[in-house]
């Protein structure tokens, strides 16, 4: 009987440890997708987000034209997300973009984030999917 309890404990730990490693902030990771004013005008989009225990930080389109996330918030009651970035419009003028979305498929490592991507007077929508860990 003691042996059975021991092996059940070992088996339990073997399965629980990997499951625990899946836990984390739902926004953390690299997300790919696109944004645009309609379905025929889309621009590829990459967002990398991190969480230090207090603040959500990250970058939109890492690289030459990257923009840091500002005022990023997650509401865990309805899994809505808000962040802002400074972007450039077609004339090169800096414009503030307000991004509001909602996380879907929360339990999946391929969860999605969809919503509105409004830069100044320009209204658009976006859809992002979290990259799967390799």
């Amino acid at each position: 009987m003691q042996a059975r309890a021991f092996y059940l404990s070992v088996a339990f730990l073997m399965f629980v440890t990997p499951l625990l490693s899946q836990e984390g902030h739902p926004l953390v990771g690299t997300w790919h997708g696109n944004w645009g004013p309609d379905q025929s005008n889309r621009t590829d989009l990459t967002v990398v987000m991190d969480w230090d225990g207090k603040v959500i930080s990250g970058l939109v389109n890492p690289g030459f034209d990257q923009a840091p996330l500002q005022n990023a918030k997650l509401n865990p009651k309805d899994w809505t997300v808000h962040f802002e970035i400074d972007s450039k419009d077609s004339s090169g003028k800096t414009v503030r973009c307000l991004v509001d979305g909602k996380i879907d498929k929360l339990g999946s490592d391929r969860r999605t984030l969809t919503g509105t991507w409004n830069c100044g007077a320009a209204k658009a929508d976006f859809k992002l999917t979290r990259d799967r860990d390799y």
Partner: protein, 135 residues
């Protein structure tokens, strides 16, 4: 007692097999006849055993479309001997990667070297290309 020992061995084997399956020979996954040289922005770094992975966004200047590529390097201990640290590459860094594409044709490759655009520094990536597969 003999049954219990057998059960323990089966459980430990199952626990250890999954991580080991992530380790593989170069020839099993990559096509040495498909060299690739790509420049892009780093979007993710996974510093882990048995291989370090990093991901870059590569933009097609003609279409404006972005493709995300995954590159495998050697084990952390191996690439550290080539001068790497955890902070050598950061999200958003522009890098040029020389490597070999996966046989699957996916946006996935084995990196031979990584050159940092900001400094021009080139680091070996611990590729196992040309080495005899482990038995």
């Amino acid at each position: 007692m003999r049954y219990s020992t057998f059960a323990l061995v089966v459980m430990l084997t199952a626990a250890l097999a999954a991580p080991l399956m992530a380790h593989h020979s170069f020839a099993a996954e990559y096509d040495s006849k498909q060299p690739v040289t790509l420049t892009g922005a780093v979007t993710k770094i996974e510093w882990m055993n048995p291989h370090v992975y990093f991901y870059i966004d590569v933009k097609d200047e003609q279409t404006g479309r972005v493709a995300n590529w995954a590159f495998e390097m050697g084990a952390p201990a191996v690439i550290q001997r080539n001068g790497w640290t955890r902070n050598s590459m950061k999200i958003g860094d522009i890098v040029m990667v020389e490597g070999t594409r996966a046989k699957s044709g996916a946006n996935h490759g084995n990196a031979r070297s990584v050159t940092m655009a900001s400094t021009g520094k080139k680091l070996g990536a611990g590729s196992s290309e040309g080495q005899t597969p482990e038995q």
